[in-house]
């Protein structure tokens, strides 16, 4: 059956370039399996074009707020256009890291201790006093990151309390609320979850080994700077736990079709969830495509199946 698929990529976020690469890769993969698709940006021409030439389904390859905060999904709902991925409500929940962590913790899914604070709380209460409390309570090292956003932008590991104020300022340049959480030493692992019709299932975990120890923006998007292991070099029991935790997180957040759950695995084999992504990267160096390949699946066929599911859902 000939399908007309619209891939949304670009957007106004810092991850625009990543998104354009993601969209292009999904497009190529779909075409390779005979599904016709086009790419466009989410700009003022989008709604007229949806009205004039309604696609059978939309794939949201936008990263950052537009693609992930749920708002665009809400607009697509208004237009009655089906899309791959979770609905607006779940997207909004997963996008806001502190909200997502609260839901995960309530569901009994392990996630590092945290505190989330908007910048004006620091000016009201005095930054030094608040930061002292944070260090007292959560200890060091700490992970500071914007409450919303991706690609490691604005994130910093703080090993020394003296470095905390600068990390907060760096974080607040990206978003008005900072998430400060306990830094858990261990192995970074991403578990992608895909539902091809038999319920959400975990793909093989992908292990991330950045060559300089930090999985920052350069390490993520410069070929050669990070070594990935897919599947991750894990004890089978740990791998099984990870799969279970990832699917639990996917379900607890009400996600749909696909997601990527980022975890940290401590040396003792226990895993904690850091966050879940509703519009994970699809570039050449992205984790979900690696997991798909490690599972022996075809990236294009996976997306073709997800498109079919979206169309049937209506």
């Amino acid at each position: 059956m000939d399908r007309h698929v619209l891939i949304l990529a670009g957007g106004l976020s810092y991850e625009r370039e990543v998104s354009l690469r993601s969209g292009r890769r999904v497009l190529d993969a779909l075409r390779a399996v005979g599904v016709e698709a086009v790419i466009r940006d989410a700009d003022v021409t989008l709604l007229p074009s949806l009205a004039a030439d309604r696609p059978d389904a939309v794939i949201i390859a936008l990263h950052g707020a537009t693609g992930e905060d749920g708002s665009l999904r809400g607009v697509l709902d208004l237009c009655g256009v089906p899309y791959v991925g979770c609905d607006a409500r779940a997207s909004r929940l997963a996008w806001d890291k502190p909200s997502a962590k609260a839901v995960l913790r309530e569901a009994g899914i392990p996630t590092p201790d945290w505190v989330a604070l908007p910048h004006d709380r620091f000016s009201e209460l005095g930054a030094v006093a608040v930061l002292d409390r944070i260090v007292d309570r959560l200890g060091l090292p700490l992970m500071v990151k914007p409450a919303q956003g991706g690609s490691g932008l604005g994130a910093a590991v703080v090993r020394d309390a003296a470095a905390l104020p600068a990390a907060m300022v760096g974080c607040f340049a990206y978003h008005q609320t900072a998430l400060v959480e306990q830094f858990v030493p261990g192995v970074d692992v991403a578990v992608s979850v895909v539902d091809l019709g038999d319920g959400p299932a975990a793909l093989p975990a992908v292990e991330i080994v950045p060559s300089n120890g930090v999985y920052d923006y350069a390490a993520r998007y410069t070929a050669g700077l990070t070594t990935w292991h897919a599947p991750a070099r894990l004890d089978p029991k740990v791998a099984a736990d990870l799969a279970e935790i990832a699917v639990d997180a996917h379900n607890a957040l009400g996600l749909r079709d696909l997601s990527r759950v980022d975890l940290i695995v401590s040396p003792d084999g226990t895993a904690q969830v850091l966050e879940a992504n509703v519009s994970p990267g699809m570039t050449e160096t992205s984790l979900l495509p690696m997991a798909v390949a490690a599972a022996g699946l075809d990236f294009g066929k996976v997306f073709a199946t997800l498109v079919t599911r979206a169309v049937e859902r209506g």
Binding site: V169, A202, Y221, A294, L297, T305
Partner: protein, 483 residues
């Protein structure tokens, strides 16, 4: 799964894991997804790259800039000339004719490696406006046509630089030149400048420092007129001083002059090359006087050097585009190019005025900037403690873009500065952009005050000297403590 990975069950023991092989209809073809237990960097060429490629990584700045193409963002970052001001009907007709039966057999052919003679003659006419003419030894014979000024810089580097050689350059310096010098594995030593351009005493000092380190400075790279990014011009008295110092030290001068004809008041200052027949290589481009899309620039060099430049260029590109050369030569032969340059000057002057007035009206106290008399750029110094690179995401979120000062120093210093360009946006958009920028700076100042942090590396250091008369925010005089 295939390959030498862990035992096949290691990743599927969970009953909730994905039943790979059983996934009817979605399994990939043979060979898909092979991974070895050693992992993959997704770059099989990692240990084969040349040394000079080290350190070239994906950049957050590029990520932040990716949104500047959207119309919502006021970009004070780009350096794109306002080509819409060209008589595009006439230019289009000319280009069509050049590709047609009358000229196509020539214009679609190779040219000589040195470039087309008709164009080199036009280039000499253009250079005469800056005082470089037959009386100062300029000849079409000594012009090499290049693909923009950028290739000229690359050729000069290839001809003169060995790895480890020192290049002296203004601090700040043109980012594209720094990239060329980095690729040549040269060490850039920045020479401080002020509102009158490069400081002669600082040049002498830099030469001495380099000599003490047992190194040799091969040339001084300088943009004396309407500097990119600093917006300042080397003053008349300093021109002779700088040339004298270079002459005494046996230091070549590479004069990069893309903006020389785009001055806002009167005639251009005579170029450095117009004062010395030897020791100065003169590089320029048609990108700002006509069209950057044609990618045509040139270098005027002493005879012996010219030979080497031609050989190097032939090895690199064989010859510049004959079509582009013909387009430029025809444009400069048959169209009112002098009037067009006046039009450009007027447009850029109006935009410069809009930027300076907006900065004066809107920027918070403690902000300072240069007042360019031509060209495209204003160099802005932030209030103490702010860092332009760290502040950039806040600016992009506010839908305004600038270039952090860090890009204009080989060592990544310069965080207390930014480059603002006024060449492309309309005056109204410029004012809107400055309004947004002022809010961004104010918010960043508040944030720094709350957390009591001055950005490390934000101190200007050698990047800019306190002398000179900067622009300053309205009704505020920078306090003596703020360099």
């Amino acid at each position: 799964m295939t390959g030498s990975g862990p035992e096949p069950d290691s990743h599927r023991t969970s009953d909730r894991g994905f039943p790979f092989a059983a996934a009817a209809g979605v399994a990939g073809g043979a060979g898909s997804g092979q991974r070895s237990s050693a992992g993959t960097t997704l770059d099989d060429y990692t240990d084969r790259y040349a040394q000079r490629m080290r350190g070239m990584t994906a950049s957050e700045i590029r990520a932040l800039f990716s949104v500047t193409s959207r119309p919502e963002v006021v970009s004070l970052a780009g350096g794109a000339p306002f080509v819409s001001a060209l008589p595009l009907d006439a230019v289009g007709e000319m280009l069509g004719s050049l590709g047609g039966p009358a000229h196509g057999a020539t214009t679609l052919q190779y040219s000589g490696g040195q470039g087309d003679l008709a164009l080199r003659e036009r280039i000499c006419e253009v250079m005469a406006l800056s005082g470089i003419d037959a009386s100062t030894g300029a000849s079409p014979d000594d012009v090499v046509v290049t693909i923009g000024g950028q290739q000229a810089l690359d050729l000069v580097s290839r001809v003169f630089l060995d790895p480890g050689d020192v290049v002296l350059a203004e601090g700040p310096s043109y980012v594209g030149a720094l990239g060329v010098f980095q690729a040549a594995q040269a060490d850039v030593v920045h020479v401080p400048m002020d509102d009158d351009g490069i400081i002669p005493e600082a040049l002498t000092e830099a030469l001495a420092t380099v000599a003490r380190a047992g190194k040799r400075a091969k040339f001084l790279y300088t943009v004396p007129a309407y500097h990119n990014p600093a917006g300042v011009t080397l003053s008349e008295p300093r021109r002779e001083q700088i040339l004298d110092i270079a002459e005494r030290a046996g230091l070549l001068v590479v004069e990069d002059d893309p903006y020389g004809l785009l001055g806002f008041s009167g005639e251009p200052l005579p170029a450095l090359r117009s004062r010395r027949r030897d020791g100065v290589l003169y590089v320029s481009t048609f990108s700002k006087t006509f069209a950057p899309g044609l990618r045509v620039g040139w270098v005027l060099a002493p005879h012996a050097v010219r030979e080497k430049l031609v050989i190097a260029s032939e090895a690199q590109i064989l010859c510049p585009s004959m079509f582009a050369q013909s387009a430029i030569a025809t444009y400069f032969a048959s169209m009112p190019w002098r009037e067009q340059i006046k039009t450009f000057r007027e447009i850029y002057r109006e935009r410069r005025d809009a930027l300076l007035a907006s900065l004066t009206d809107l920027m918070p106290a403690g902000t300072r900037w240069t007042r360019p008399e031509g060209g495209f750029y204003v160099w802005l110094t932030l209030p103490e403690g702010l860092h332009s690179k760290e502040m950039l995401p806040r600016a992009i979120a506010a839908r305004v873009a600038y270039v952090p000062g860090t890009g204009f120093f080989a060592d990544g210093s310069g965080g207390s500065h930014m480059r603002l360009s006024y060449c492309f946006p309309t005056p109204e958009r410029i004012r809107e952009g400055v309004r947004r920028l002022a809010t961004v700076v104010e918010e960043e100042m508040k944030m720094r005050a709350v957390f009591g942090t001055a950005a490390p590396g934000a101190a200007p250091g050698v990047s800019w000297t306190p002398a000179g008369t900067f622009g300053a925010a309205a009704a505020h005089t920078p306090s003596p403590g703020q360099e």
